[in-house]
Symmetry: C2
Subunit: 316 residues, 2 copies
């Protein structure tokens, strides 16, 4: 059983390279003046990534039951919930309709599929956090089409990783051996990569992690890295998507002034920023997967989250 | 010396209640369609808080060297840098001018004061993170005036805290005794309170911390809380600003399904959301201050950050 779910999860990882070829779009009747993306957890991450990839228009992320006040007829509200039954996202959808905003839904089923209009329906049967490609691509396809050669480049990078994730396994083994808490740092504007790695460690490997991004972390975290409690407990990793010299200087200087070495500085080859981003995200998927295997926990298990949802629906 | 800086920091904490009576505003010539706030670390936190307190218009936070593409003549870009010499924020200001956006500056001096127009000049001589009131109030005064009675209510709450922070000292003592890493959870829409506490632990107490917010954390962190490495190392605190029953149910359910108890659930008395927010922020200031005293570290010391800045300016 345990073994089977690990195989199933590996199968899910392999599907990202197919997911990013999705050509799905949703309808945008008239040009909005802002975009609000409502979604939680594994479904919400697509919105966070999109916000950093597309800045031609203000994109606002909503992570709760209610939408910001400015939402109105000039907004488009995209509600993303893999299951279609996330209570926060259903509430956000209802508010969008009340406020006469344009609305769109990305879901595989549930209440949002049955009640919604302008739905991008995505395949069922995988875990929400493994459906990232299905949820991200409709946003990109609708607002800023990614060139076909960039998608092909990303698929090549993912194929390489799918065929050989031994480096990621090595990192997982180091974390496992030391029972470390990862510190995941990304580089601006891709703060969400670090957030995604953090949530993948949470859900797949069942461990806590810290995250932040250069240069912001140089204004706060830096003071703690030198002399925090249990310094040896942490496992600092830097995901370097931004090759700006000022960012590189900051990474080196941070190590010097805090007397802390990044165990890994992970970079992506290639030319397109889309391909690099997708590759760097997937490296985190593999590390968290291998760590789950080593810990002998099921990467697909989300029993606590399911228990919590049913507890909230049936308050004692 | 060490002792003196602690006394100075205490003096800074006491000044928040005066800072929030600031009536400063900056000019907004014509109604913008969006607001971008550029600022890093202790200066940037004012923007994060403002974004959650004011949602009549899209407010976008910029934490790096460059502004989002959508910035143009219909935007107002507010650049906040306590020192006026933050290189990221100076770059953002220059970009705002290039893009013909309306611009405003909140600073105490430096390059931004000397080159900028439309400046709110704030007092010098305190640490940026202790000047939160000076940096937050001009944003609120300009876009959504806080009623005088709410400010008075906040001042009363702060005075009580300034006179007696023994509860905060007790929390600091527990963290100190166990050499814990705090997990700071807030409640949506006040995610920034948790971020601020985290950064205060970083800069004042020189320890790392984790942060997240309900309900988002129920979709990822929850799976890690039960069986993370070194579970006993962490010190979970919940800052409950949202009294929505659905959030309360989530807090209780999270404890049950993860077999983890919050060491403290911190709430605010009173009626106005402004007063509650300011009070809850200041509780974190005091805990981090008392923890610095117990650890015998100087809460004002930011040597590593200063070293890093000079290293970047003079790359080897």
């Amino acid at each position: 059983m345990e073994k089977n779910t690990k195989v199933k999860f590996l199968y899910e990882l392999l599907s990202l390279k197919d997911q990013i070829s999705s050509k799905e779009t949703f309808a945008v009747d008239k040009n909005p003046s802002n975009i609000v993306i409502a979604g939680m957890g594994g479904s919400g991450i697509a919105g966070r990534l999109f916000q950093e990839m597309y800045s031609d228009m203000p994109v606002f992320i909503s992570n709760g039951y209610s939408l910001p006040k400015f939402v109105g007829k000039d907004s488009i509200v995209v509600c993303i919930s893999y299951s279609g039954n996330t209570e926060e996202t259903i509430a956000a959808y209802e508010e969008a309709i009340e406020k006469n905003a344009q609305s769109a839904i990305i879901t595989s089923g549930g209440e949002l599929l049955s009640k919604g209009r302008n739905v991008v329906r995505i395949p069922t049967g995988i875990s929400p956090r493994s459906a990232l490609g299905y949820m991200l691509m409709p946003l990109l396809n609708t607002f800023c089409k990614i060139p076909e050669e960039d998608i092909l480049e990303a698929q090549m990078a993912l194929t390489k990783l799918d065929n050989d994730s031994s480096k990621e396994k090595e990192i997982a083994a180091e974390i496992f051996k030391g029972e470390h808490i990862p510190i995941v740092y990304s580089t601006s504007p891709n703060d969400s990569i670090a957030y995604r790695w953090n949530t993948q460690f949470n859900e797949n490997s069942k461990i806590l992690a810290l995250w932040n991004s250069f240069p912001e972390l140089n204004h706060n975290n830096t003071m703690a890295l030198k002399s925090t409690y249990k310094k040896e407990l942490f496992y600092p990793i830097c995901i370097k998507s931004n090759t700006d010299k000022r960012i590189s200087a900051r990474i080196t200087a941070t190590e010097k002034v805090t007397n802390m070495r990044f165990r890994r500085v992970i970079e992506a080859n290639g030319t397109s920023s889309f391909a690099k981003l997708i590759y760097l995200l997937h490296v985190g998927d593999y590390i968290s997967y291998h760590l789950a295997k080593l810990r002998n926990v099921d990467p697909l298990d989300i029993t606590s989250i399911e228990e919590l949802k049913s507890m909230i629906k049936n308050p004692i």
